[in-house]
């Protein structure tokens, strides 16, 4: 599990961890039942306060996304699909806002902004197809 923390971003670091874990699950890079690094391990890896990692894990647990088995580590929940389409939508909207703001500043019209998005989406489609062809 590779996470990237940016303390200059402003968003509290525990929220950065929470959002990235959700993305990893939504994108299938973390699957139900996968084990997460320990609080200490992740804190040392990211060079952040262990209390911050503990808080992110705790809140993900309360949201039903992670489960902690006493003395046996933290895992991605196997109970149903914790990330509903609605939750994914909220995460994406946050990114869309940043993208829309940037396009606005650069003077892009809505049509031009959507065209860029379409282009990026098509690229993603191709990458995904290439990936499938390369599989054994």
């Amino acid at each position: 599990m590779k996470l990237h923390i940016n303390p200059k971003e402003g968003k509290p670091i525990y929220r950065q961890i929470m959002d990235q874990v959700k993305y990893l699950i939504a994108s299938g890079r973390l699957s139900p039942g996968d084990e997460l690094p320990t609080v200490r391990g992740l804190a040392q890896d990211l060079l952040i306060n262990p209390n911050t990692v503990a808080r992110a894990y705790r809140e993900l647990e309360q949201a039903g996304i992670l489960v902690t088995r006493q003395g046996a580590g933290t895992y991605v929940s196997t109970q149903g699909t914790p990330l509903s389409r609605e939750a994914c939508g909220r995460l994406l909207l946050e990114r869309a806002r940043a993208f829309a703001a940037e396009a606005w500043h650069l003077g892009y019209s809505l049509e031009d902004t959507i065209a860029l998005l379409r282009e990026a989406h098509e690229e993603q489609h191709e990458i995904s197809n290439d990936h499938k062809e390369n599989l054994p």
């Binding site: 303390p7 200059k8 402003g10 040392q44 306060n49 262990p50 940043a98 703001a101």
Partner: protein, 306 residues
């Protein structure tokens, strides 16, 4: 406050005043460092951070007010306090003629609780040559050597004065890692001063901001972030002074677009700005650096804190 932090405090400073000739270095400082937290002391150069730390170490006597470390006065009971405290000073004062191995042996003699295996593992991790003379070490190596000497008796309190100042990224990485490891050990406390606010943001539970010898605020990093907001707004008028907003601490920009760092809850700020006819382009939580610059150094440009 974090769960790890009990009610018990390791350091209590009350109404501490210090004058050097005519200069008022500390003008009534109160801080409380709870057990088990990473406590970050931030402020500009000359704000009083080092002077405060010297009182905590007992190398300066309080002119008025009180200083308690583990419930004791560090000036009256230096041995009892210093045996529980690891300290890395800003100028890493280790005699230059000593070799690394000698500095380790010399320091070890003062501390019955010295952990030889731990000292050796730190020396290997920091890639310090036992036979190298201190004066031939790079800044980063000197800092690592100082850190080794401060950590190897596993003190319950670690005090670091500007630990990353002037260091290359690799040495900064080691310093941060040492802070993270120290606090991961149950109940140990770290107090450090720094002007590198992104580092403070990474590791601190509690932050105290010192400005001109006074504590501007002392609170958990989470709460600092929760009660400040940063808005990027656009307005109709091409020119004129910065837009007004309740709780506004600092406005930067010009023309139509402005960045406003404010005290207040983010949604309320967004609503208020909209009600005043401003178009809110972005609304987010400011970084500690944004808050710092808005509060104590509004004249300075981003990236120039020191």
């Amino acid at each position: 406050m974090t769960e790890a932090a009990g009610l018990e405090s390791v350091i209590e400073v009350r109404d501490l005043v210090r004058k050097f000739r005519r200069k008022q270095a500390l003008a009534g400082v109160d801080i409380t460092v709870p057990r088990g937290v990473v406590y970050g002391l931030v402020g500009e150069n000359g704000a009083g951070k080092t002077t405060l730390l010297k009182h905590i170490l007992g190398s300066l006597r309080a002119q008025s007010g009180s200083v308690r470390v583990f419930g004791m006065d560090p000036v009256k009971e230096p041995v009892a306090v210093l045996s529980q405290l690891g300290y890395l000073s800003e100028d890493r004062d280790i005699p230059g003629w000593m070799r690394v191995g000698e500095a380790i042996g010399y320091t070890q003699a003062f501390y019955p609780g010295w952990d030889e295996a731990y000292a050796e593992s730190l020396r290997e991790r920091f890639e310090l040559d036992e036979r190298a003379k201190i004066k031939t070490l790079s800044r980063g190596e000197k800092a690592k050597c100082g850190l080794l000497l401060a950590l190897a008796y596993r003190p319950p309190l670690l005090v670091l004065d500007e630990p990353s100042s002037g260091l290359d990224p690799s040495a900064r990485h080691d310093i941060l890692e040492a802070i993270v490891r120290t606090v991961a050990d149950e109940g140990r406390t770290v107090l450090f001063s720094s002007h590198l606010l992104d580092e403070v943001e990474r590791v601190a539970d509690v932050v105290a901001m010192i400005h001109r010898g006074k504590v501007v605020f002392e609170e958990s990093l989470d709460s600092i972030k929760a009660r400040h907001g940063r808005l990027l707004v656009s307005r109709e008028e091409e020119d004129g002074p910065a837009p007004e907003l309740p709780g506004l601490l600092h406005a930067s920009g010009g023309g139509r677009e402005w960045t406003l760092v404010c005290e207040g809850e983010l949604d309320a700020l967004r609503t208020e700005a909209t009600a005043r006819g401003l178009l809110v382009l972005e609304a987010d939580t400011p970084s500690l650096e944004d808050v710092f610059l808005a509060r104590v150094a509004p004249g300075k440009r981003k990236g120039t804190v020191s």
